[in-house]
């Protein structure tokens, strides 16, 4: 993975020192809370319902075991013993004291980490495919480009005060977008044109929030050397012309929609013509320098093992069988696999990990995965390089730390925002709904029978829980002072991107889990067979059977 050089290291150290001064000035009262707010936000520090929340950047989700141990230490010493992995591949600590933050930033800097630009109206942490570098279907590893973007966007002097936050995602697997690039302010896809020439397809103006948009294509094929100049052009057009009069219309998706993609494209291209051959033009040497950091680890030469057979041979352990079926993912290196560690154990808030779990995972990463882990946007962790024959052993070790839940990719592997338990924008709680669903549908045989179905829950219209792109989406709303939940069906974040459709009137807290059950039963009763996934079924039949099952008897009300 990327290793800081003296420049990178000095930057995070200076940043920690700078923030120490800013906190000092705030505590003394020489700057007001209003003036402090954007400063703390650019260091990832939010004021939440009960305390400060600190968001730490995990660039494109990649973590070393050393870094994870430091996160465990911070959870133990400065929080209540846990951290929350977010849908942006970052980690959040929910119980932070302002005066501790400079010490925490120093600690992070010691392991090449920071909280720079994890909030505020600036370019946020670049996200990517959690299987980057190991996926068998990958065209090219996107992480060197992510790192380039990380450096270009870090303290970019022109783009620190954009109309609104700005998120970029990159995928190197054009056939299977695991990074939801179509729902980002800018999506970058590594593609090949008809002549086999590698380049980037650039999308812009996607997003969720109160008006979800699937990003249209700005440029079909951009030669690699122009990546940064093109991004800079898009950002400049957005910085100058994005709306600043209304917070809810300030994202780039609104600019793109209001101008129309053709006009937006021509403005971007006109800007780009002016700068394309300037200082931002990339040289092969720089790309190669970055690529070297992401070279594969020292894999052993291994034959491929058949894990299914092996799991059965291991005997009567259904837990391991389900684990192999759901949580073990393909790998480009023969004899290896990637293992998804689910942070969705029944009864636990989705995405949370305790300090001791983080320590345990760091040790397991050292033992089984060359010391590397990846945070997924589905709020799990991946051990990216595990020998297939050691999966049984790893599973047993994970089990000791309650990290072996075999539900990856199933209903209970839900995405869930912090909701009203923590967030001051929330309308409704989301974590208790996720937990109740996790407990009601705990049985692995049931989950396996359901197959691939995604559940995503947000506590308000800001959509941090990505409810628009859940096969089943739940949105917390406020119904005359009562928490209520809107149900959406048919969303998908990937190559076949779609936005979920609202089924009908909202459900109360007491009704919502039953409603999810009704939806699942409708699907199970109506599908042509196990091959027809929930999303396929929905696309075939649409809302009517679900409406009928959910509201049919009560239509008169």
């Amino acid at each position: 993975m990327y290793q800081y050089d003296a420049h990178d290291q000095r930057l995070v150290e200076e940043r920690a020192a700078q923030f120490r001064g800013q906190v000092q000035r705030r505590l003394e009262g020489s700057i007001t809370e209003d003036e402090f707010k954007p400063l703390r936000l650019q260091n990832g520090l939010y004021m939440q319902l009960h305390a400060y929340m600190l968001r730490v950047a995990i660039p494109y989700g990649l973590l070393s075991s050393t870094q994870l141990r430091m996160l465990a230490t911070i959870a133990r010493e400065h929080d209540k013993g846990y951290g929350h992995f977010s849908t942006r591949q970052n980690i959040q600590f929910n119980w932070i004291k302002l005066e501790d933050v400079p010490r925490i930033l120093d600690a992070l800097a010691r392991v090449q980490m920071h909280a720079i630009q994890t909030s505020g109206n600036c370019i946020r942490n670049t996200t990517s495919d959690h299987l980057a570098g190991v996926a068998p279907d990958e065209l090219e590893d996107p992480r060197p480009y992510c790192e380039l973007i990380r450096q270009w966007s870090t303290f970019h002097p022109e783009f620190a005060f954009l109309p609104r936050k700005f998120k970029i995602a990159v995928t190197g697997t054009p056939d299977d977008d695991r990074a939801a690039v179509r729902f980002h302010d800018i999506g970058v896809r590594i593609v090949e044109d008809d002549a086999g020439q590698r380049g980037f397809q650039i999308l812009a103006g996607g997003g969720m929030g109160r008006s979800p948009h699937i990003a249209p294509v700005v440029r079909e094929h951009l030669p690699y050397e122009h990546l940064l100049s093109y991004l800079e052009s898009i950002l400049r057009v957005y910085n100058r012309y994005g709306r600043r009069d209304n917070k809810y219309k300030a994202r780039i998706k609104i600019l793109v929609a209001e101008l129309g993609i053709d006009e937006f494209r021509s403005q971007v291209e006109a800007e780009w013509e002016q700068i394309r051959d300037g200082a931002l033009r990339l040289e092969r040497a720089e790309i190669d320098r970055l690529k070297a950091f992401f070279a594969p680890p020292a894999y052993r030469e291994l034959p491929s093992a058949d894990l299914q057979l092996q799991a059965q041979a291991l005997g009567a352990d259904p837990a391991l069988r389900y684990f192999v079926a759901n949580n073990v993912l393909g790998h480009r290196q023969p004899g290896y696999c990637a293992v998804m560690v689910s942070l969705k154990a029944p009864g636990r808030p989705p995405g949370d990990a305790s300090d001791s779990q983080m320590d345990a995972l760091a040790d397991l990463a050292d033992e089984y995965s060359f010391g590397e882990l990846v945070v997924t946007h589905t709020q799990n962790l991946v051990l990216p390089h595990v020998e297939q024959t050691r999966v049984g052993q790893l599973h047993a070790a994970l089990r000791e730390h309650e990290l072996a839940t075999a539900n990856a990719g199933t209903l209970t592997d839900s995405i869930c925002c912090p909701g009203l338990d923590f967030c001051n924008l929330a309308n409704a709680r989301s974590i208790p709904v996720a937990i109740e669903i996790g407990e009601r549908f705990e049985r692995l045989d049931y989950l396996s029978d359901l197959g691939e179905v995604s559940l995503k829950i947000s506590g308000c219209i800001n959509a941090c829980g990505h409810h628009h792109v859940g096969n089943i989406g739940i949105l917390g709303i406020d119904k005359i002072g009562e928490e209520a939940y809107q149900l959406m069906l048919g969303g998908s974040p990937g190559n076949d991107a779609s936005i979920g459709q609202i089924v009908g009137r909202a459900f109360s807290r007491a009704e919502i889990v039953d409603a999810v059950q009704t939806v699942l039963e409708t699907y199970l009763g109506g599908r042509t067979g196990e091959d027809e996934r929930f999303l396929d079924y929905f696309r075939r039949v649409g809302l009517p059977p679900f409406k009928e099952a959910l509201y049919g008897d009560h239509q008169a009300r």
């Binding site: 000095r10 003036e35 022109e158 910085n239 300037g278 200082a279 931002l280 040289e283």
Partner: protein, 169 residues
């Protein structure tokens, strides 16, 4: 008033003339809005030629640069207003003036200009700063040296860090 210019605290005698204020009879260095500059270009530039004071323009974040370009070489000051520090359009205007249009005169940030924005402003090409009222200009001077690492090419260094890295032995 006291401003920061090229890293030092200096006194500025420029007068920011409102659109409905008449041109003063006496000699003075004046800034006017872009609209007024375009409207009264001749009388304003005549003052400068006669030695009655220099002429500058005050840009608002929404101003387009194209109409300004023909007059730009005649100006001694371009001031960009920040109505709120969160309005970042002025940064792009500054870079365009410096990098694209070759403006080399004084480029001043005014309005809601706070210490913690100076680093970014400076990198975009501003070399003069009128701080927001009530802010310590001496404290603000420290802001320029807080961060010494710059990844990007900008007005203050035409080479991004990756160029400088590969140039290093």
């Amino acid at each position: 008033m006291e401003i920061i210019k090229q890293g030092e605290i200096v006194t500025s005698a420029w007068v920011h003339l409102g659109d409905d204020e008449p041109l003063p009879a006496h000699a003075a260095d004046l800034t006017v809005s872009l609209a007024r500059l375009l409207e009264q270009r001749e009388p304003l530039l005549a003052r400068a030629r006669e030695g009655s004071g220099q002429v500058g323009v005050r840009l608002t974040p929404a101003d387009e640069l194209d109409p300004l370009l023909p007059v730009l070489p005649e100006l001694s000051l371009v001031a960009i207003e920040f109505p709120k520090f969160t309005d970042g359009r002025g940064y792009s205007l500054a870079r365009l003036l410096r990098d694209r249009h070759g403006y080399r005169g004084e480029l001043r940030a005014m309005g809601h200009v706070l210490r913690d924005q100076l680093f970014y402003m400076h990198r975009c090409g501003f070399d003069a700063f009128e701080l927001a009222p009530g802010k310590s200009i001496h404290d603000a001077l420290e802001a320029f040296s807080e961060l010494s690492v710059r990844y990007q090419a900008a007005a203050d260094d035409p080479r991004p860090l990756f160029r400088r890295r590969s140039a290093a032995p």
